[in-house]
Symmetry: C2
Subunit: 267 residues, 2 copies
């Protein structure tokens, strides 16, 4: 039993989809969330810069006394998780392992499409993790860098969004994928339009839910679960505050984010 907060970070507010899943599965946990909105996006930047930013994010959370860290950002997990695990003693979990587990949970999976930022696709972290666990998979990674801007504009149902999605997805559909991994915390908001565009038998896998389950197992194993009966708190820190980020936070969290604090990273 440990009632110190969980630290969860992302380049922006997309990681709040993970927060929502954690709150549902582990309602007693106190959560301290950091969104690096001043420097977002991470997905188009270089591995070195992403590692530096992720390191500063983790240091901020550790300075606030968290008991474990969830990297709720696919790009940061892809490029920075190994170096973070090497550097820090505290438990640090990413979103890739849980996503890969979820994708492979169905025994019939054979052809997997992955959509993500350019950074995540370019890291080959998903491709590698999948290939390690199951031989003979056919894996197609597709960088989809316009999706985050479209989602942040809330153009979830705009004809241009459909057209852009078709441009990105048609090559994957032609290759006969049976599973599509939504490897970016923003993408779950596109699930309704994805269901319309994709053939019915393509399975969609997003990592927020499985990440929460993975976290529960890990916290249990390490005896770090908060087992109290009261509802946990949520503290939101963003490196840049604006009305747009607040509105987006509400959308990802599906409720009011409460008071948001401005985080100053140590640099």
């Amino acid at each position: 039993m440990n009632s110190a907060p969980l630290g969860i970070f992302d380049s922006g507010v997309g990681g709040l989809t993970v927060v929502r899943a954690v709150q549902e599965l582990l309602p007693a946990e106190n959560i301290l969330y950091l969104g690096d909105t001043a420097r977002l996006p991470y997905g188009s930047k270089s591995p070195e810069t992403i590692r530096q930013f992720a390191d500063e994010d983790v240091r901020f959370l550790i300075s606030k006394g968290v008991k474990a860290v969830v990297v709720a950002c696919n790009t940061a997990t892809a490029h920075a998780l190994p170096s973070l695990l090497e550097k820090y003693q505290i438990p640090i979990l990413g979103v890739i392992e849980p996503g890969v587990e979820a994708a492979l949970a169905s025994p019939n999976v054979q052809r997997i499409g992955i959509i993500a930022t350019r950074g995540t696709i370019g890291s080959h972290a998903y491709q590698h993790a999948l290939a390690l666990r199951k031989t003979g998979l056919i894996i197609h990674g597709q960088a989809t860098p316009l999706l985050v801007p479209l989602i942040e504009e809330n153009w979830l149902d705009h004809p241009a969004t459909r057209q852009i999605l078709k441009t990105y997805l048609d090559p994957l559909v032609e290759k006969g994928i049976d599973t599509l991994m939504l490897a970016c915390t923003h993408y779950p908001l596109l699930i309704p339009v994805l269901r319309e565009i994709l053939p019915q038998d393509v399975r969609l896998v997003d990592s927020a839910t499985t990440c929460a389950e993975h976290l529960k197992r890990e916290l249990t194993r390490l005896d770090l679960l908060d087992t109290s009966a009261r509802e946990g708190s949520l503290e939101l820190h963003l490196t840049d505050l604006s009305e747009e980020f607040e509105a987006l936070a509400r959308q990802f969290l599906k409720k009011s984010p409460g008071r948001i604090q401005r985080a100053i990273l140590g640099g």
Copy 2:
């Protein structure tokens, strides 16, 4: 006569459209360019954060010994130029005044549309500068936040780009604009498709060329021109290096950017 370099900065590589115009008009000038690619974009972030970033950018350029600074970023000009002018002794020029001059150069201008980032539109800097210079203008600002991501993807002629442009521009066309200001350094790359979409009599104004002319006048007035006969150098510094940024730099500059250095800002 002063052969110290000119400092030019932008949130990314879009400001190289200004560099190109300066090189054409003032070929002897040495130029030191800073692109804050690690923290781009600025256009969606808050005024406070943009002011802090612009301040760090100017301090970097001053530490390199520049004789004057051009803020080749509309969002940074819109939110940070007044505070920069107050704080620093060195001449600092923005892109808004030159753009406004160019827009008002035609005596018949009456209805002006402005497309720009959310930050630039929200600052009302263009609207204010136009209204100060000419009474009776009808001004329509339109935030167009998806254009920079589309240009950075090089989807200059994709059907989705046309659809998004029509969504943004149809309301301006319906209001009968005679002039459209492209108030972001990325947008000149869209001129061919804009010419197809807009009515023929809508005049397009971009600020890169007029910014260079404005700079020439100011350097002459302050006796800071480099009047030597040799061709000036260009030194590129980016806070994040990647192949994508190099490719984009080549596109904006219309030639090889040479060796790019990684800039570490003082913070």
